[in-house]
Symmetry: C2
């Protein structure tokens, strides 16, 4: 399986959820060049949501990707393809150029299970514009079986290239992942699968390896794990562990050395006890993130009592 797999690095997109996309142009260029030298197949350079639809008052280059800006900062494409993520209801179809006029190669659509129909409408549009597409179904660990079956009836008929298994809460272990992959394969045998993990229980890398060994081809990761809350599977681990002659670890080590240590000092992500607890409890990390921003950030027993008390109300289905 290993030679068929592809790494999709989400450092900018998922990492932006940590620092409000406060990445310099130099960093994004270094990342693109480094990932290309490392043989990483895809880099997700941000969200392509609409500032208007989100009532944004500040510019945010990596949250509201603009094709002209992208062409300026990446005047020449190298090995790595570029992708962008969009959210249902937050993307303006008029913002999307035909692929041949864009620096982007792939557009990925994130949605919850109840919005799969809307997600597939977007997929169809991006597909017709020439893009590779994926559908990323979030919060999978909370999706009832019958909803998945209904959704997959629609997915099967869609032109979507890749369907992602997304462990949004970092609550799945390798046995769970294997179970999900087999379910997805049985229900949508005509689709490539992808995996997006979170590291709440230090299982992001192991879960990604398990998915790969069971036939999943698109592997999401980020350099030094940078991503919301506990972060993601680490790109450097995939590049060094997967037996593919085109992968080179040194350019990724160079990125970590030059940028990531300092960024980790400035912004927090990774294995941190409240995120471990939210993963164990299969909860969105939002409560844990708020706790980490408070004076009580290191009161782990209090946090555990709070989130497990009968009054706790922690898992609304919305973002």
């Amino acid at each position: 399986m290993e030679h068929r797999s592809k790494i999709l690095d989400c450092t900018i997109r998922d990492g932006g959820l940590v620092n409000n996309w406060d990445f310099s142009v130099e960093f994004v260029q270094d990342l693109y060049n480094g990932l290309s030298a490392a043989g990483v197949e895809y880099m997700e350079i941000g969200y392509k949501n609409s500032p208007k639809l989100l009532n944004a008052t500040e510019p945010n280059a990596w949250r509201f990707l603009d094709d002209n800006f992208l062409k300026e900062i990446i005047p020449e494409k190298k090995f790595t393809k570029l992708s962008a993520l969009v959210d249902i209801g937050r993307v303006d179809p008029n913002d999307i150029l035909p692929r041949e006029q864009s620096v982007l190669d792939m557009i990925r659509v994130a949605c919850y299970i109840r919005e799969v129909d809307k997600g597939l409408e977007l997929v169809q549009m991006f597909h017709d514009l020439g893009y590779e597409t994926s559908l990323n179904i979030m919060a999978l660990s909370s999706v009832p079986e019958h909803q998945l079956i209904e959704a997959f009836e629609m997915v099967k008929e869609s032109p979507v290239d890749v369907v992602y298994i997304v462990d949004s809460f970092g609550s799945l272990d390798p046995a769970d992942i294997e179970h999900q992959v087999k379910k997805f394969q049985a229900m949508i045998p005509n689709k490539q699968l992808g995996i997006h993990t979170h590291n709440n229980m230090q299982l992001a890398f192991a879960n990604t390896l398990t998915a790969m060994r069971n036939g999943v081809t698109f592997l999401d990761s980020s350099v030094y794990g940078m991503g919301r809350a506990a972060g993601n599977c680490h790109t450097e681990l995939l590049v060094s562990h997967i037996q593919k002659p085109s992968y080179e670890i040194k350019p990724v080590l160079g990125l970590i050395e030059k940028h990531m240590l300092e960024m980790r000092q400035k912004w927090e992500w990774g294995y941190i006890i409240p995120y471990m607890i939210s993963g164990v409890l299969n909860e969105h990390p939002r409560v844990a993130m708020a706790y980490r921003d408070s004076a009580d950030r290191d009161k782990f027993v209090d946090f555990y009592d709070k989130v497990t008390s009968p009054e706790a109300n922690l898992a609304p289905a919305s973002k």
Copy 2:
């Protein structure tokens, strides 16, 4: 399998390799009480090697365990049993009391594959004194198959209770662990198995879960992962993930909150790039540990070049 498994916490013993066993009596007592409240079955309270045989010039309470001292600081045993580790050629048999006169319940013998005969002599002696025993074969990832077969012929005939699979270099992944467990089970079907992992590639917890699901019963870990270099599987992850009603996470969270954050500030262990590299390369972490003590500690590309250059000579079989 889960209900049969037992956690053996190595915080003091393996963590002592990080801080030269600079643990206060208060910390060790808190750890013992916390692990007992958490339902952790065993705590390894240190090494029972001989200061004379090691020509030690300084006292070191947790490296050279003394039964009288242990009785003073743990006057009353609670739920958790106590174990100690010994090394071949470093333990003086005259230092070992019969079990009924000791606070210790288990003595574990660490050895390399070529010393298994000597290891089993010690095991026999400790067994005859009434202790539970284990044989921990180190550096397993470098052991040739035929040596393992020869060693296991002796192990089969020994009274040893538990034989450990030790991933000394943190170089194994879950597929490797499954392979090793099945090999051990086929060769020594009459023995319980144990697993001791290192977290170089963020696989310590996943490897431990894989071992457990394949029938391994003794699971080594340490609180917040404290152990040499990349550290071990985290006790808090095992206690929160294993489905065993007797496990309680809160006492372990209390230990992390009260002690481990501060200790992690003072001493270094965990997922750190040079340790990741030594794991990937299946090398002892000693070169990486020396590098982390130098001014070049964060020059990851240089480190990689150094350890992969044709002149590098990194893996002598000795400790």
